[in-house]
C-alpha cells in the first residue's frame, strides 16, 4: 500500500514539511500586493492544490516556496528551515515543458543530476527507469520536437523526479494540454507521487481538477491575493474519474465555487 492510498486521517498527524508564516509579497515598490499574509501548514506526503483566478497570487506563492523569489514579509518554511533560495529538496515543474530542444528525453531527464555534479552510471539507469515510469521508454532518445505536448510534459515529470526532491511544486503542469490528455496525466501523476510519497503543491485554475487530485484545496482570491479558505478533501484514495459524479464531490465543488464567488 502506497502513501497515497493510505487514509487521509493518519496523514493529518504527519509532520509539517511546508509552512507559510504570514507571507506577504508586494511588487512595484509595495503598491501591488500579490500575496497577503498567507499562513498554512502542509503535512508530509499531502497533495495540496492552489486554486483561484488569475492574479490571486497562486504562482507567486509557489515561486516563494521554491525560493525563486523572496517574500516582502513573513517566510516560507520547509523542513523547519526558512527558504532563502532554491534548494535540492524542492523541485518545480512548469506549464511549459521547458525541455532543452538539443537534448534527448534522457539527456533532459539527466539535467538536474548534471547541474549538481557528475553523472554516474547509476544516475543514467535511474533516468531510464523514470522514463519507463512515465511511459516513454521507447522515446528515450527522441528530441522534444519529435514528441507531442503530452509526451513533453511526461519527460518534464521524469526530470522532476530525477531531482530526488521530496517536495514537488507544479505550476499548471498540464494546463496547455487537451482535456483527455490532462485527465490521463493527472491520474498518472497521482500514481507516481503516491509511489514516491512526495509532498505536492499543485497550481491550477480548474476547480474539479483541484478537488480530484488533492487532500486539501487552498482557495485563493485576488486583489490582494490571499488564501480565502482551506477546504479539506476527504474523498477516499485511490481516486477514480467516476468520483467526480458523486454528491460529495459536487458539494466540495460548490464550497470552493462559493468562496471564489464571494469576492
Amino acid at each position: 500500500m502506497t502513501a497515497a492510498q493510505a487514509d487521509a486521517e493518519p496523514r493529518r498527524a504527519a509532520p509539517t514539511v511546508v509552512a507559510g508564516d504570514a507571507i506577504v509579497k508586494t511588487f512595484a515598490n509595495g503598491s501591488v500586493t500579490a500575496l497577503d499574509r498567507a499562513s498554512f501548514d502542509i503535512p508530509k506526503g499531502a497533495f495540496v492544490s492552489l486554486v483561484g483566478p488569475s492574479g490571486c497570487g497562486k504562482s507567486t506563492l509557489l515561486r516563494l516556496i521554491a525560493g525563486l523569489i523572496a517574500p516582502s514579509q513573513g517566510a516560507a518554511i520547509v523542513h523547519g528551515r526558512e527558504v532563502t533560495g532554491p534548494r535540492p529538496d524542492i523541485a518545480m515543474m512548469f506549464q511549459k515543458a521547458t525541455l532543452l530542444e538539443w537534448r534527448t528525453s534522457l539527456e533532459n531527464v539527466l539535467l538536474p543530476t548534471e547541474l549538481s555534479g557528475t553523472v554516474t552510471k547509476a544516475d543514467r539507469a535511474r533516468a531510464l527507469d523514470l522514463l519507463n515510469l512515465v511511459g516513454l521508454k521507447d522515446f528515450a532518445f527522441a528530441f522534444p520536437a519529435q514528441l507531442s505536448g503530452g509526451m513533453q510534459q511526461r519527460v518534464a515529470l521524469a526530470r522532476l523526479l530525477q531531482t530526488g526532491a521530496d517536495i514537488l511544486l507544479l505550476d499548471e503542469p498540464f494546463g496547455a494540454l487537451d482535456e483527455f490528455t490532462r485527465e490521463h496525466l493527472n491520474l498518472e501523476l497521482l500514481r507516481i507521487v503516491g509511489e514516491f510519497g512526495a509532498t505536492t503543491i499543485f497550481v491550477t485554475h480548474n476547480i474539479n481538477e483541484a478537488i480530484f487530485l488533492s487532500d486539501q484545496v487552498f482557495v485563493m482570491t485576488p486583489r490582494p491575493g490571499k488564501i480565502a479558505k482551506i477546504v479539506d478533501i476527504n474523498l477516499p484514495r485511490p481516486r477514480t474519474l467516476a468520483m467526480q459524479l458523486t454528491p460529495e464531490f459536487n458539494a466540495l465543488a460548490e464550497d470552493v465555487r462559493a468562496t471564489l464567488g464571494a469576492l
Binding site: 515561486r63 532554491p86 523541485a91 518545480m92 534527448t104 548534471e114 547541474l115 527522441a142 528530441f143
Partner: protein, 285 residues
C-alpha cells in the same frame, strides 16, 4: 531489402521531374531568347555578350587558358580570412555584451556608428593603412562582416526564456552552467543566421577592395576585362564570384545543419540514433 528498392529509387526521379526540370526548361528558354535577340541585333552583343560567348569565355578561363584559378584562390582566401577575423571579434564582443550590461552600453554606440557608416567607404583609408596586397582586402572584409554577426549573436544570447531560467535556478544551476548549457545552445540558430549574412558581406568587402586597388583577385581580373571591353570574359569572371559566394554559403549551411540539428526532421533522426549508440557504449562499458 528488394521491396524497398523501388520506392526509394522513384522518389529522386519524381523530385527531378517535378522540381529541377521546370527550372532547367525556364532557364534554357531565357537563354535561347537572349541568344535570339542578340542574333537579330535587338541586343547589342558588344555591350551585352551572347550566352554562347559567355560559355566559351568560361571555357577559356577555366579549361584552356586556366588563368582564373590563382585569382579565385586569392579572393576566396581574403573573404574567408576576413570573415574569420570579423566573426571572431563579433562573437567575443557579443558574448561580453550579453554578460555585462555596462559593457553593452559602452560598446553598442560604436557598433551602431560602424554600421551606419558605409563600410565600403572605408576602402581608401584601409588601403592606405594595409597596402595593395591581401591585407587591405582582409581588413575590409572583416570590418563589413562584423556588424551582422555581432547583432545576431547578441540578440540570440539575450533572448531568454523566463521559465527555463527559473528551471535552471530551481535546480541550483550556476551562472556558468546557465550560460553554457542554456544561453549558448539557444543562441546558435541566431548566430548561424548572422554568420551566413556575414560571410556574404565579407566577400563583398574583399571584391570591392580589389576593385579599388590590387594586383590579384577576381575583382582585378574583372576590372581588367571590362576596361578592355571583353564583356564575355568579364561576366564569366563575375560568375566565379557567384561560385565563391555559393561555396561559402553552402559551407556555412552545412555547418548550421550539423550543429543546429534540432528542428530539422532528418537530422534529428540521425543524431538520435548516434546518441542511442553512445548511450549503449557508456552503459555496457
Amino acid at each position: 531489402m528488394a521491396e524497398h528498392d523501388l520506392p526509394q529509387r522513384s522518389t529522386p526521379r519524381s523530385y527531378w521531374a517535378l522540381s529541377v526540370l521546370p527550372h532547367l526548361v525556364l532557364f534554357g528558354a531565357l537563354m535561347a531568347l537572349w541568344e535570339g535577340l542578340s542574333i537579330i541585333n535587338v541586343i547589342d552583343s558588344i555591350m551585352v555578350p551572347r550566352p554562347s560567348e559567355i560559355v566559351s569565355a568560361i571555357w577559356r578561363l577555366y579549361v584552356t587558358e586556366r588563368i582564373i584559378y590563382p585569382h579565385f584562390v586569392v579572393t576566396f582566401t581574403e573573404a574567408v580570412t576576413g570573415f574569420a577575423i570579423g566573426a571572431t571579434i563579433a562573437v567575443v564582443l557579443a558574448v561580453a555584451s550579453s554578460l555585462s550590461d555596462v559593457f553593452q552600453r559602452y560598446v553598442s554606440p560604436y557598433a551602431i556608428v560602424l554600421n551606419v557608416t558605409p563600410g565600403i567607404a572605408l576602402t581608401p583609408i584601409i588601403i592606405a593603412w594595409f597596402g595593395y596586397g591581401m591585407g587591405s582586402k582582409i581588413a575590409l572584409a572583416a570590418v563589413i562582416c562584423f556588424f551582422p554577426i555581432y547583432v545576431n549573436a547578441l540578440t540570440g544570447l539575450l533572448q531568454t526564456d523566463e521559465d527555463r531560467e527559473d528551471l535552471f535556478r530551481s535546480l541550483g544551476g550556476t551562472k556558468v552552467q546557465v550560460f553554457f548549457k542554456l544561453r549558448v545552445p539557444s543562441s546558435l540558430p541566431m548566430v548561424f543566421a548572422g554568420m551566413k549574412i556575414g560571410l556574404t558581406t565579407a566577400l563583398i568587402g574583399a571584391v570591392v577592395a580589389e576593385f579599388a586597388q590590387a594586383t590579384e583577385g577576381v575583382g582585378v581580373l574583372m576590372g581588367r576585362f571590362s576596361f578592355q571591353l571583353q564583356m564575355a570574359a568579364s561576366i564569366a569572371t563575375l560568375l566565379s564570384m557567384t561560385a565563391i559566394g555559393l561555396l561559402l554559403f553552402y559551407a556555412m549551411e552545412f555547418l548550421d545543419n550539423r550543429i543546429v540539428f534540432w528542428g530539422r526532421e532528418n537530422r534529428m533522426a540521425r543524431v538520435s540514433r548516434a546518441r542511442a549508440k553512445a548511450w549503449q557504449r557508456i552503459m555496457h562499458k
